[in-house]
Every structure is written in structure tokens, then in C-alpha cells.
Symmetry: C2
Subunit: 228 residues, 2 copies
């Protein structure tokens, strides 16, 4: 059994990743980040995911970082969360500068401290149009930096795993269904009400993914009608 | 005038770097990190450095990260700070896994959010034997990752400046003297008493640097006698 440090936001992608890694026989250490996102709600989903999988779980407080990176709709209450499709140009406002590099650098630090063989991230192909830090070239750059920066301290052949980097979200849903992910125990909505709003970028993307995958969507949406 | 985000610990190297960058005509945004190091004292020196240079200053709270990376003598009160020369193998216990990657990833995020042209770090040649994240190959890897991960958001030709990466600490002292750095307003000691202990790794390295540079050392040491 090998140890993998995986970042878990509580969203569909990262929870599915944790289940897939566990199904492959890895021991997991789950790390979530509080960077002052509008809703801390998804962190509860991350906690329950770790508990289900018998994994150690830590929430890293990066609120101080989030404050400095304000101006994104995800952290700044003065910026409105845009509606519409996730891949639209309007979603650029949801970019938190260098977010994945920051979270992965912490995950790598934890992995090195614990002697883990890898870190894992659930970035996927649907993120590529807007978020440069979700693309394959970025993952390779992070792995390269992690190995060089921790030479002699990280395990030999240390890796940054991103098994979803080349696949769209509907394929993630298929893979999650195959390992029995309880999708109702994942949170996507950027708005953060009692139930998923059904209209923000990630809600639209979530509904579409279940639809394309042909997997029943157990999510309760405030706006039940699909408009795209 | 161009904006540079520079990491300032309050130590001799990073304070000198800030002064050198300011002398070169850059506008500075200084960022310090609290990762739960034994002494928060050096952060006061960083604050005063920023104030002297008329620069904006932020202290980023990474204590939550420090807790997860414990086991280093710099963050864990149960681990004794080793005495002796900084380059000795015993100093490996002062390694905080992936520390520079974490701090630089935050600095890059701030730089992208503010439209800065570069981040800067005071890593130097004397750090190379023990700390892999202070070597030229690491700096290049960070710059590469920063550009790829912020494509379309960072300014064109974004850089990670590490002007001291190829020089020893005594040359930093010479360069600092040339731009009038008030060295007494810098803090090196890992022990963190009222005055520099004079015996820990960084104190030994500090004294040696002034000696080799032929620059008067204004530092008050608890142990006035140089033993190495």
C-alpha cells in the first residue's frame, strides 16, 4: 500500500478522484483548503468523503492568502458570481490567481513530510479553456518543480497524479459511478445555498455531465429546469 | 517604474534584496510569511524594512501549513535547533518541506493579481548544500510553472528574480553595504532571544559573511566569541 496526498474540495471531481484512488488500493491523506471561498459548505463534503474512505483529513487555513488574491468572484463578496456555461469567457472572473500552484505546493510539502509517493489533483479537461493551471503542461511543470525542489527529501520518482486531466467531466461521472461514488455527497454550486442553484457555471456543468454520462443525477437543484 | 513582489523574512538576505531592488528603481510589494516559526521576531524587521522603503507590506498567515509540515527544528518546539555551521549535514533538520515553493506560489499569486512583472527571492549559493529549493534549477522550475500556470493572466515575460542565487552570503553583505542597508535592522538567529545567540547555524554564517566581506558587523551577539 502506498500513500497518496490528495486535494479534496468536496466537489464532484475531487471526491470521485479520492474514491478512484482508494479503489486502486492507495492509502490516502486528504487535504482541503479554506481560502475564504464564499461557501465553506463544500469542506463538509470533503470531511465526509475522507471519513467514508477511512482517510486522515486536514483543512488548511489559507484565508490570509485568499484576502490578498481578492478580485475573484469566488473570494470577493463584491464581485457577482456569473451565470451561464462554465467554459464561457465570463467565467474568467472566477479565476483565483495561481490557486492550484498554491494548493499543490502545500500538498507536496505534506507529501514530502509524510514520505508519500505522490500528490493527486482532480483537474480535468473541462477546466482547460479558462484555467491555465488545470492543463497538462501545468501539471508537468508542478511535478518537475516538486522533484527538483525536494531532491533528497521526496521519495524517488515522486509524482503529481492528475488522472482526469485529459478527460471531460461526464467521463469523471462514469468513472465515479463505476466505483460507487455517492454523488449526492458532493457539492459543486458556486453560489452556496441550501441546495444547488442549478444556474451558476458549475451547476450547469454538473447537470450536463450527468446527462452526457447517462448516469442519474441525484442532485436537488433550486432551479429544476435545465436551460442550456 | 515596475512592480516587483518580493518575499521578505526580515533576515539579512531578503532585507538586502529589497534594498537592492528599490535602489534599482522598482516599486516593491513586500510579503512575509508566518508559518509558525519559533520566533515571529524577524517579521518585525520585515515590517520596518518595508516602511523604510515606502513599500506595501503583507504578512501571510501560513501557520496552518506549518503545523502540517512539523518535524523541522524551525517549526517544532520538540526538535532542538542544532549548533554549528549552517552548511553541515546536521542542518538538514532545519528543512521545512517545500517551503520556498509554498511561499513563492503565494507571491506569484499576489503578483498576478496586482499585475506585477516579477517576484523576487533572496535564495543564495550558501543555501545550496542543504536546501534543494534554493538552487538555480529550482528557481527556473518555479518561473516555468508560474508562466504556464498563469498564461493569459500574468504579464508577458513574467519573471522569478533570484539575483543572489549564484553568490555567497559575504557578497550579499558587500552589495548591501553598497546600497546602505542598515544591517542592524536584520535578524538571522534561529534561536530568537533578545539578541542574536551567535552560535546557531545562521548566526555562525552571518558572522562569517561580515568577516569575509570586510564589512563591520553591527550585530550584538550573546556569545561574543567567534568559535569557528
Amino acid at each position: 500500500m502506498s500513500l497518496v496526498v490528495t486535494t479534496v474540495s468536496g466537489g464532484l471531481d475531487s471526491v470521485t478522484l479520492a474514491h478512484v484512488l482508494a479503489a486502486e488500493g492507495h492509502d490516502l491523506l486528504c487535504v482541503s483548503f479554506d481560502y475564504g471561498q464564499r461557501h465553506a459548505k463544500e469542506v463538509d463534503y470533503a470531511k465526509r468523503c475522507a471519513a467514508r474512505l477511512g482517510a486522515e483529513h486536514h483543512v488548511v487555513d489559507l484565508r490570509s492568502v485568499g484576502t490578498l488574491l481578492s478580485g475573484s468572484a469566488l473570494t470577493d463578496p463584491d464581485v457577482e458570481v456569473p451565470e451561464g456555461h462554465y467554459a464561457d469567457a465570463s467565467m474568467a472572473i472566477t479565476v483565483v490567481p495561481n490557486r492550484n500552484a498554491i494548493m499543490l505546493s502545500v500538498a507536496v510539502g505534506v507529501a514530502v513530510a509524510r514520505g508519500a509517493e505522490a500528490v493527486a489533483t482532480a483537474v480535468h479537461a473541462g477546466d482547460h479553456p479558462i484555467y491555465p493551471d488545470c492543463r497538462p503542461a501545468f501539471i508537468e511543470a508542478v511535478e518537475r518543480e516538486a522533484r527538483i525542489g525536494n531532491e533528497g527529501f521526496a521519495v524517488e520518482g515522486f509524482r503529481v497524479l492528475a488522472p482526469f486531466v485529459g478527460i471531460p467531466k461526464d467521463e469523471i461521472v462514469r468513472r465515479g459511478a463505476a466505483v460507487g461514488v455517492p454523488f449526492v455527497e458532493t457539492w459543486s454550486c458556486y453560489v452556496g445555498g441550501d441546495v444547488h442553484c442549478g444556474r451558476c457555471g458549475t451547476c450547469v456543468e454538473r447537470r450536463e455531465a450527468f446527462d452526457l454520462a447517462g448516469v442519474p443525477d441525484p442532485t436537488e437543484y433550486a432551479d429544476a429546469e435545465v436551460t442550456t
